[in-house]
């Protein structure tokens, strides 16, 4: 079935006006939105629908997303996919700080690079970054998967509790409570499947995996930090 696209120009509109306009468009399959770069908290708490943002998007895109599919052709600001629980967010460009922070589920795909604090406190989402990520990535990662095709900065996976951090490139330093492991057969299958599904040009054999050393790290004191 052909998707029926409806367009909305968000120029000179504020968040409340744009959401009111979007509600009027309910029923169409895909909604195209332009000039959304100055809207912060856009597509918040949506349960369904497909939204294509042409150009850049602002901060907090898809916050509390609970089932909608959001695609952005340009770059996004900070905190994309904040506290998402279901759904899919695809960013063709780069993302700012703390992309995919606090999510419980869903998928976030960033084709470019992402900033510091990416996937912080991930509690179950799948987050794929095709470029590089910044420092303190996946701090206090509680569950879910982070896949970084490029390189990572300092303290990669600091205070990792659960979940898997897959990295194709290098990282400047490894965070507290992490251990590097080779991929298992299941991991390879999972990465193959995800790369195929989202059309990510990456070679699975290059990847390594970081897992938590213990589920109960001793807080308050860094016992040892390896370079």
């Amino acid at each position: 079935m052909l998707a029926v696209a409806t367009a909305l120009d968000a120029k000179d509109l504020d968040l409340r006006q744009v959401s009111a306009a979007l509600k009027q468009l309910k029923g169409s399959e895909t909604i195209e939105i332009r000039h959304a770069a100055s809207l912060h908290g856009f597509c918040a708490g949506l349960k369904q629908g497909e939204y294509d943002i042409i150009g850049d998007a602002g901060d907090y895109l898809g916050v509390l997303n609970d089932g909608a599919t959001i695609r952005v052709t340009g770059n996004v600001g900070n905190y994309v996919g904040d506290n998402m629980t279901r759904g899919l967010i695809v960013v063709e460009g780069n993302a700012g700080l703390a992309a995919g922070v606090y999510p419980y589920g869903g998928t976030l795909l960033i084709r470019g690079s992402a900033g510091d604090f990416t996937a912080t406190m991930n509690k179950g989402a799948t987050i794929i970054v095709c470029g590089d990520v910044g420092d303190e990535t996946a701090t206090y990662h509680l569950a879910g998967d982070l896949i970084v095709v490029g390189n990572a900065g300092l303290n990669f996976g600091n205070f990792l509790i659960r979940g898997n951090l897959y990295i194709g490139g290098a990282f400047k330093s490894q965070g507290h409570n992490t251990r590097v492991e080779p991929l298992t057969k299941d991991d390879e299958q999972k990465l193959h499947r995800l790369f195929e599904q989202f059309d990510v040009p990456a070679e699975v054999s290059r990847f390594r995996k970081l897992v938590a050393e213990t589920a109960k790290p001793f807080y308050g004191r860094i016992i040892k930090r390896r370079e």
């Binding site: 968040l15 409340r16 959401s19 912060h40 908290g41 918040a44 708490g45 349960k47 901060d59 907090y60 916050v63 509390l64 997303n65 609970d66 900070n78 905190y79 904040d82 506290n83 629980t85 700080l97 703390a98 922070v101 606090y102 419980y104 604090f117 912080t120 406190m121 509690k123 179950g124 701090t139 206090y140 509680l142 569950a143 509790i161 659960r162 589920a215 109960k216 807080y219």
Partner: protein, 514 residues
């Protein structure tokens, strides 16, 4: 500083081995270098010279029967000042374990509090007192009246502040919700996610279809949006009647929530998304807020997510009340809770609970001034929290300019707590802060709610008595003219008029009456 006779030495004869078997034990005689103890020819040990005791307590440490007690003869705060026995023991604890002291509950110790303020009754120079027994007093408060489609209409100027599921047991949370429904006030989820049916109970219903109201008039549930974001989804945010953005709390401003691993049961772990048995540590700040602009955007998207229906609140710790409240009001919230240093907690480092943050009475005046300077006083509601014990403290906070008050620790005590400060251990014998099913069974939510409602009723009557004897017929008419400071210190920090002097202290002139 008395050196001679500074200590009382007592030996409990029923625990002393020598008293039962003379000559078999003389450890105290052997270890004491100052001849405090002596043994006679028959092998009987006695205290011969307690004046010589220096309080080293080596005898007590070595006594195999644990029969010796060494106490300071005069109050330790006078004779030993800095180095009291508890201080010494605390240093020993740190030296032995390498850990700082962690505990629950709130501040214990002298802080400027409401006790040094008195209420001024009405006589002839002011509007005559109102009759508490025969006249009405308006007690209700509306939060978000002009900004939201579903404002919170509290029947009393009282709320239960945020106490999380995890820190508190399910039973305690439900008791708070039922009491809120019975009294028409608001309770708060805290940062640990939603207890199943908590929102129904808080609104007065038991069945999910919301057909038959069990508790009249029905209250409200505030959903806390916190730095750990435990159990938060769009359904969570929409489940309640308001959303509270937590910035900090009085007991440990600048630190995030801390739930010790022992209290993280399977149920709590499932709600929070952490492994069972591991500490759930909330970050101290939002990872998704870097600036005040971000905070404004956060408030805006929370309004957007809740479809502009419910009020957005913000909870602040006691830091820089004027600047913080001003910033919070500018972020566009409907109500601001400011939690004084005397506020409570489930677990916090002892030093932080004791000595970090501004006391409650010093938080309210700057907060009121900030709202007045923005022209938002009584529009953006101010909720005063932090160690409030009853109607008297509540009245004083209201007269200083707050619109409502919160009872957290006092509500726990109304549920049966005895303030033993061991909330962090998860062994609460009254089932309030325990997660063990055996202990939780001791607290029945409906019975707890009955006690809480009685407490709230008595407290509201106290507020009413004081409001009416001060010549007012509504709590929002109260002003700082209804209060006087008892001492210079209180007058200096609150800007209240000093008794006798009947004026504000000179440096408060021109600052603006609260």
């Amino acid at each position: 500083m008395a050196v001679v006779g500074a200590f009382c030495v007592s030996v409990m004869k029923n625990a002393c081995i020598n008293a039962q078997y003379p000559g078999k034990c003389a450890t105290c005689v052997e270890v004491c270098p100052y001849d405090v103890y002596a043994m006679d020819g028959e092998g009987q040990v006695s205290v011969q010279n307690f004046n010589a005791c220096v309080g080293c307590r080596i005898c007590a440490e070595f006594c195999p029967g644990n029969a010796i007690r060494i106490n300071s003869a005069e109050p330790e705060s006078i004779t030993r000042a800095l180095w009291t026995f508890p201080t010494v023991e605390e240093i020993h604890y740190k030296a032995l374990t390498g850990q700082y002291i962690l505990r629950g509950f709130g501040t214990m110790g002298p802080l400027p509090h409401f006790d040094s303020i008195v209420v001024v009754p009405s006589q002839i120079a002011s509007p005559a007192p109102r009759d508490k027994y025969r006249e009405d007093c308006k007690m209700d408060v509306v939060i978000g009246e002009d900004t939201c489609e579903r404002p919170m209409h509290l029947q009393l100027p009282i709320v239960f502040p945020a106490m999380s599921f995890g820190a508190l047991s399910r039973e305690a949370k439900l008791a708070l919700a039922i009491c809120a429904a019975q009294m028409g006030i608001a309770t708060n989820t805290g940062e640990g996610g939603l207890v199943p049916h908590e929102n129904l109970y808080a609104n007065g219903y038991v069945d999910p279809a919301r057909e038959e109201k069990r508790w009249e008039p029905g209250g409200y549930l505030v959903m806390q949006w916190s730095t750990g974001r435990w159990g938060v989804s769009v359904d969570y945010v929409r489940a309640g009647d308001a959303v509270e953005v937590k910035i900090g709390q009085g007991a440990k401003p600048g630190m995030g929530g801390h739930l010790l691993g022992k209290k993280v049961t399977e149920e709590i772990a499932a709600v929070r998304g952490v492994p069972p048995g591991s500490d759930a540590l909330s970050p101290c700040r939002y990872y998704d807020v870097q600036s005040l602009d971000d905070m404004k955007h956060m408030v805006t998207f929370l309004r957007e997510v809740t479809d502009y229906q419910v009020p957005i609140l913000m909870k602040l710790g006691p830091s820089r009340p004027y600047a913080d409240v001003r910033a919070a009001a500018e972020a566009g919230v409907d109500a601001i809770s400011i939690d004084g240093a005397a506020g409570g907690t489930g677990a916090s480092p002892d030093i932080v609970t004791q000595s970090v943050g501004i006391p409650t009475i010093a938080c309210i005046p700057p907060a009121v001034r900030a709202l007045k300077d923005l022209g938002l006083h009584r529009k953006v509601k101010l909720i005063a929290l932090g160690g409030l014990r009853g109607g008297l403290d509540a009245f004083k906070a209201l007269a200083m300019g707050a619109d409502a008050v919160g009872f957290g620790s006092a509500a726990e005590i109304a549920l049966g707590c005895r303030a033993c400060m061991a909330c962090h251990k998860g062994e609460c014998v009254y089932g309030i802060t325990a997660q063990d099913p055996r202990l939780r069974a001791r607290l029945d939510p409906e019975e707890g709610a009955r006690r809480l409602s009685n407490f709230v009723r008595a407290t509201s009557e106290e507020i009413k008595i004081l409001t009416m004897l001060a010549g007012h017929s509504a709590v929002h008419e109260l002003s700082e003219e209804d209060l006087r400071a008892l001492d210079l210190n209180t007058a200096a920090i609150t800007g209240l008029k000093l008794i006798g002097f009947e004026k504000r202290l000179p440096w408060w002139e021109g600052v603006g009456a609260n």
